[in-house]
């Protein structure tokens, strides 16, 4: 089954996974309100009920959920932009500073507006229809065209022309095409395992974040199949992976 068709029943959304993704990218669903953990749980339920792990669709799922997580974490980090990642730290800091100042400025302005609004509390205006003698269509045609402001039909053609413009398409290419698959990372890890033991840092050296994420998943898969175990001496420390056949000594 393609991951796109994975049926979800969440607080904020019910429907297939690919539609959820589309709606999130178009900001019709607020990513803040979407519990990504629920999406993961729905996927795990699906895995459990289907009883088999299709590595291709697993890859697809990880890539997509990772993309959503990245998107959400960026939103949470006060609107960091993609370009920021390619900038030098000082440039990125400047850019971020400008954004933070902007956001802060208008938050303060919003507070000011709310004060104004409250100060005007209790002031009401009259909104009654005009008396009968004044209710006459103001656009009634008269002989004197200048009085009603003759309209130019070109206005209509221009409006249609503007509406015919296709907006630039939203591209999903960068996340819908996995650059890395669980299958490939499994093969990579198995190659390393032939040595009996390897370090996770080494396995993902030079890899991008997506590859690292998929490699973690491949590692979990090796563990599930009983091919490998690992240990980690300290939090955030290197993970040492070893083949299960080898007599092992687990540290920590």
């Amino acid at each position: 089954m393609s991951i796109a068709a994975l049926d979800l029943d969440l607080d904020v959304f019910t429907g297939p996974f690919d539609l959820l993704l589309t709606l999130v990218l178009r900001e019709e669903i607020d990513l803040f309100e979407l519990q990504l953990a629920d999406v993961v749980l729905a996927y795990l339920d699906h895995l459990e009920s289907s009883g088999e792990l299709d590595l291709e669709s697993a890859t697809e799922f990880i890539v997509l959920i990772a993309a959503l997580l990245e998107l959400k974490s960026r939103l949470l980090l006060s609107g960091e932009d993609e370009e920021l990642l390619d900038l030098e730290p000082d440039e990125a800091a400047e850019e971020l500073l400008a954004k933070m100042l902007d956001a802060r400025r208008y938050r303060a302005a919003a507070g000011y507006l709310r004060e104004l609004f409250a100060a005007e509390g209790g002031v009401r205006f009259r909104a009654a229809p005009l008396p009968e003698y004044l209710r006459r269509s103001t656009e009634e045609p008269t002989d004197d065209r200048s009085k009603i402001g003759q309209q130019d039909p070109a206005v209509l053609g221009e409006s249609i022309g503007r509406l015919l413009h296709m907006p630039p398409a939203i591209s999903l290419r960068h996340i819908l095409v996995p650059r890395v698959s669980v299958v490939a990372r499994l093969a990579h890890l198995r190659g390393l395992l032939r040595r009996g033991r390897f370090s996770f840092d080494e396995a993902v050296s030079g890899a991008d974040r997506m590859t690292v994420a998929v490699t973690v998943f491949a590692l979990l898969e090796l563990y599930r199949r009983g091919e490998a175990r690992w240990d980690q001496a300290e939090n955030f420390g290197d993970i040492s992976v070893h083949a299960v056949a080898e007599p092992l000594r687990v540290a920590g």
């Binding site: 309209q151 209509l156 409006s159 939203i170």
Partner: protein, 200 residues
């Protein structure tokens, strides 16, 4: 300021706000005062707003009280409100009117789909001004709209065939599809309605 002056002020404000005449009972309930107090306040207001003293008068109508303008202001009011104003279409109204003009009869939901945002307030104003009118219902029960005689007069057209050819403003004139289909496609791409906008 005395309590009774304040009470009269409140009643003045209520009469000013209300579209319909207010009865002494309603005024007493709203101001949490006795009907006697309301009567006293109304007497005071009737004096202050006696004919000729202000631009407004306090009138007793249909068992209630209401403010009305002094007839002396009628000519000025006519000049202000009945004067044919050089009316201008807002961009939203121009878009909505153009869609109705070229695609009539057409329903509101369809207009909104083409615009990519709601067309409700624009359509309501065009209806009020008599530039568009209802024209039956679609097979799904939505009200359909068309332009009327006033539209043709305002735009100096004899018939709808005189509408300018859109080709002049068409960004992709080589496209063969019908105008309606192309507008719907572009509109859905703008609002994110259909999968057409997503490149995969």
């Amino acid at each position: 300021m005395t309590d009774s002056a304040e009470h009269a002020h409140t009643i003045e404000a209520l009469l000013f706000l209300s579209t319909d005449p207010l009865s002494p009972r309603e005024l007493a309930d709203a101001t949490q005062a006795s009907e006697e107090a309301v009567a006293a306040a109304l007497t005071q207001l009737a004096e202050e707003y006696a004919p000729g003293r202000r631009g407004l008068r306090l009138r007793e109508l249909a068992g209630g009280y209401t403010f009305a303008t002094d007839p002396a202001s009628e000519n000025a009011a006519r000049r202000l409100f009945s004067r044919p104003r050089a009316f201008t279409l807002t961009p939203a109204q121009a878009e909505t009117l153009a869609i109705v003009a070229y695609l009539q009869p057409i329903s509101r939901p369809e207009i909104s789909r083409i615009r990519g945002v709601s067309a409700d307030s624009a359509a309501t104003i065009l209806l009020e001004r008599g530039l568009i009118e209802e024209s039956g219902r679609s097979q799904f029960g939505a009200v359909l709209y068309r332009t009327g005689t006033l539209f043709l007069k305002l735009f100096g057209l004899r018939t709808l065939d005189d509408l300018p050819d859109v080709a002049r403003w068409d960004p992709t004139p080589e496209e063969q599809a019908e105008l309606r289909d192309r507008l719907l496609r572009a509109g859905e791409a703008r609002s994110g309605g259909g999968p057409g906008a997503i490149e995969e």
